[in-house]
């Protein structure tokens, strides 16, 4: 089907303001939006800039706003956002970070905040055996928090950041929560664990 990808274009280095530019191309309903962007950059307009890598939702490179919602371009199929021949799909860069060029934003601030929560294991105890012993139930407690791929889509969508740019953002909180929950699981403090569990439910 023919769709129109309406892409945000901007080169701040040359002082240019942002504008939308439309590209019409034939895509299968089951193609990824990312496939469309790659086609444009390789065959139609080489100056289009965006990030990409694994192309199946694991590496977190290609988060952008597609029809107003934060999504990964590689996990969004054409049929998810366009129904009819000639439909327009509007694609914009993430918010709360500076546009570097087109759909690329400066994620440095996002990673600095991630690093600021010390997102690593600070051992509270000596490992008694070869590995730490941890029950499947304890492991399950922080499972959700291990799934974040730091794509920074949440940082763009977060309404708190609209008013308070110093807020560290959801991803950094998740990274911190992961280790907080892990320590709790080691200490098996049932009250804290259940509180943390309820907190986690709210967070997601």
């Amino acid at each position: 089907m023919n769709v129109v990808l309406e892409l945000y274009r901007q080169d701040p280095a040359s002082g240019g303001e942002g504008e939308f530019k439309s590209y019409e191309l034939a895509l299968e309903p089951t193609d990824r939006i990312l496939d469309g962007l790659i086609r444009i950059s390789r065959d139609m307009d080489g100056s289009l800039s965006f990030r990409k890598s694994c192309a199946h939702g694991v590496c977190g490179s290609d988060a952008m706003r597609i029809n107003g919602k934060e999504r990964l371009a590689c996990k969004t199929l054409v049929q998810d956002v366009a129904e009819n021949e000639g439909d327009v799909v509007r694609i914009e860069p993430l918010r709360h970070m500076t546009v570097q060029r087109d759909l690329m934003v400066d994620q440095q601030v996002f990673f600095e905040k991630f690093r600021s929560v010390k997102p690593f294991l600070i051992p509270q105890d000596e490992v008694q055996e070869k590995e730490r012993i941890q029950s499947p139930e304890e492991r399950a407690l922080f499972d959700e928090a291990t799934k974040c791929i730091n794509c920074s889509a949440c940082y763009s969508a977060c309404p708190v950041l609209d008013d308070n740019p110093d807020f560290i953002g959801p991803a950094a909180i998740v990274a911190a929560a992961r280790y907080v929950l892990r320590y709790m699981s080691i200490r098996v403090n049932s009250y804290l664990v259940s509180t943390a569990y309820r907190y986690r439910q709210k967070l997601w």
Binding site: D11, R42, F50, K52, H56, L77, M104, K118, E131, T146
Partner: protein, 575 residues
């Protein structure tokens, strides 16, 4: 700019990060990556990391080493395989101790599952050896190592692309690097440089590899005159999502999933009576392509893009959702199906390069006669060789951490005792002029060359290859390399010029495609992943040797390096 470090690590996947942690103990270390943190393709590894912990049943590193040698169809260097299997155990414990969230057994130990080609007692039957974190083990390794790098203040240069190697004779003195943000070309002077740039599956049309897997390290070294080892051995993983190539982990079969042809037959019974669906990947991929060529693919038209089905629906929803949740998610996103209810359409997908930069067991680049001082490689871009003619599942992650760590340790020692070598500081300017030329003239878009290369490599240097196809591939790739000279960018900006980067990546893939096709055409036997209907048997008398292929303009010259068979005598490979 001219930067100066003791050690420069190129690539921020598992091997690079582990090496950086080790090297950084004594050396002033920089990690250069063309991607942002945690985007590297180690993060896409799913099923697990093999180590004989024996948490579920009896297991021994010796069995793991033997399986690795046999799985590699005896082209494996056996001492290296012994080190791989023995050091895997401690390395997995180290990762766990640093916070890697492995799945757990009911007793609270690291969980282990079955995986292809991993056996108990030298081939008696499948063994639980793969240590896993659901189906995102690689992602957990990448995250854990990156977290440790934050803890240890490792210096990162994100979105810097290495474009040239600086050599003083056979001594490495640094690298030339293109910075995406500014378009500037820099010199990084270093006493030691480790390449850990990953794979190059993007030379094929159907691949599980990331768009970034363009073989930058091996290509840069090849253009510097260093031969690449065993490039004809490229692994086709049996189960990629039809048409897309996205990986469906072998862990699905490890948990009990089975392959079915259009008649509903469990066809692996005919090809590997003992290991069945858990035979090594080369055998399963050949079995699938044979079923397809005999008309038992789902479509039944005998074309190479036909497919078979992978059924996990009998495992039950609990197992699917707890053991392979990402697979379920991929199937829902890309195929609109639920693997707990119905089978998945799969076909072989280009997955892993067994060959690459020749190294010794310390990660030093070693071409069999020459050791390049201060030059190292580890991970998929390297060839130690622990995978030989066919890598076993889970051994890629083992290779990364074991040999990334070894190389890092060696670098930490090495840089203590040497000074910086001489570099040609004009190299940056010369490269910048090359990039400028891409912008000043009008030329072609890279798209058609990219697609043509991928189609040729998939059709002619795929699971099965024969003489005439490979000769055609060599000629066609040569022609594409000529056409490439006319490719120019449309984007003339300096900042964030991703088009320049894409063209440099295409150049790397074209170079490696030529080396791969020519190495494959040269090897007149079938061994592991290199299957030739015109030479159907393994020929140890003539071909029990590693290929070394050197790129010189548009021609490839071939030499050889002996295989270490000091532990187990080569035997026929039956499963």
């Amino acid at each position: 700019m001219i930067y100066e470090f003791d050690a420069v690590i190129v690539g921020a996947g598992g091997a690079g990060l582990y090496a950086a942690l080790e090297a950084g103990r004594t050396a002033k270390t920089a990690v250069i990556s063309k991607l942002y943190p945690m985007r590297s393709h180690t993060g896409a590894a799913q099923g697990g990391i093999g180590a004989a912990l024996g948490n579920v049943e009896e297991d021994k590193p010796e069995w793991h080493a033997f399986d690795t040698v046999k799985g590699g169809d005896y082209l494996v260097d056996q001492e290296a395989a012994r080190i791989l299997a023995e050091e895997a155990v401690q390395t997995v414990y180290d990762l766990e101790n640093r916070g890697l969230p492995f799945s757990r057994t009911p007793e609270g130990r690291i969980a282990q599952r079955r995986f292809g080609g991993h056996t108990r007692n030298f081939g008696e039957g499948p063994v639980h050896r793969s240590c896993y974190a659901a189906d995102r083990t690689g992602n957990m390794i990448l995250q854990t190592l990156y977290q440790q790098c934050i803890k240890n203040d490792v210096h990162f240069f994100d979105e810097f692309q290495v474009v040239e190697l600086l050599l003083d004779g056979t001594r490495c003195t640094g690298v030339v690097v293109f910075e995406l943000k500014t378009g500037e070309v820099h010199i990084f002077k270093a006493k030691a440089v480790l390449f850990a740039t990953g794979g190059f599956g993007r030379m094929f049309r159907i691949t599980s590899n990331a768009l970034a897997n363009t073989g930058d390290g091996p290509a840069v070294l090849a253009r510097a005159g260093i031969p690449l080892e065993d490039m004809e051995f490229f692994q086709f993983h049996p189960t990629g999502i039809k048409g897309m190539g996205i990986l469906i982990t072998e862990g699905v079969r490890g948990e009990g999933g089975i392959l079915l042809n259009s008649k509903g037959e469990r066809f692996m019974e005919r090809y590997a009576p003992t290991m069945l669906d858990l035979a090594p990947r080369d055998m399963v991929s050949r079995a699938i392509m044979t079923e397809i060529s005999e008309g038992r693919g789902v479509r039944g038209d005998r074309e190479i893009d036909d497919w078979v089905m992978l059924d996990a629906s009998h495992l039950g929803r609990d197992v699917v959702e707890s053991k392979i949740p990402d697979i379920a998610d991929f199937c829902k996103t890309y195929l609109a199906l639920d693997p707990a209810d119905e089978p998945m359409p799969v076909q072989p997908t280009a997955h892993y390069a067994m060959g690459g930069i020749p190294t010794d067991i310390h990660g030093r680049v070693d071409t069999g006669g020459t050791v390049y001082e201060g030059l190292y490689a580890a991970g998929e871009c390297a060839c130690v060789s622990v995978h030989g003619a066919n890598r076993l599942g889970t051994n890629s992650l083992v290779d990364l951490v074991v040999f990334g760590r070894r190389a890092g340790k060696h670098i930490a020692e090495y840089v203590q005792n040497v000074t910086h070598g001489a570099v040609d500081e004009g190299a940056a300017q010369a490269y910048a002029a090359r990039v400028a030329k891409l912008k000043t003239e009008k030329g072609k878009h890279p798209g058609p060359i990219y697609r043509e290369m991928q189609s040729i490599m998939t059709a002619k240097v795929g699971v099965y290859r024969n003489e005439s196809n490979m000769l055609e591939a060599v000629a066609a790739i040569r022609e594409l390399r000529e056409q490439f000279k006319d490719v120019r960018v449309q984007d003339t900006a300096d900042n964030f010029n991703t088009e320049v980067l894409a063209i440099l990546e295409l150049e790397n893939l074209l170079d490696l495609s030529l080396i791969t096709a020519a190495s494959a055409e040269n090897r007149q036997e079938s061994r592991g992943a290199h299957s030739r209907p015109d030479y159907p048997d393994r020929d140890d008398e003539v071909w029990l040797k590693h290929t070394l292929a050197r790129l010189d303009g548009n021609t490839i010259s071939i030499d050889y390096k002996s295989v270490d068979v000091s532990i187990w005598e080569p035997k026929p490979r039956v499963y």
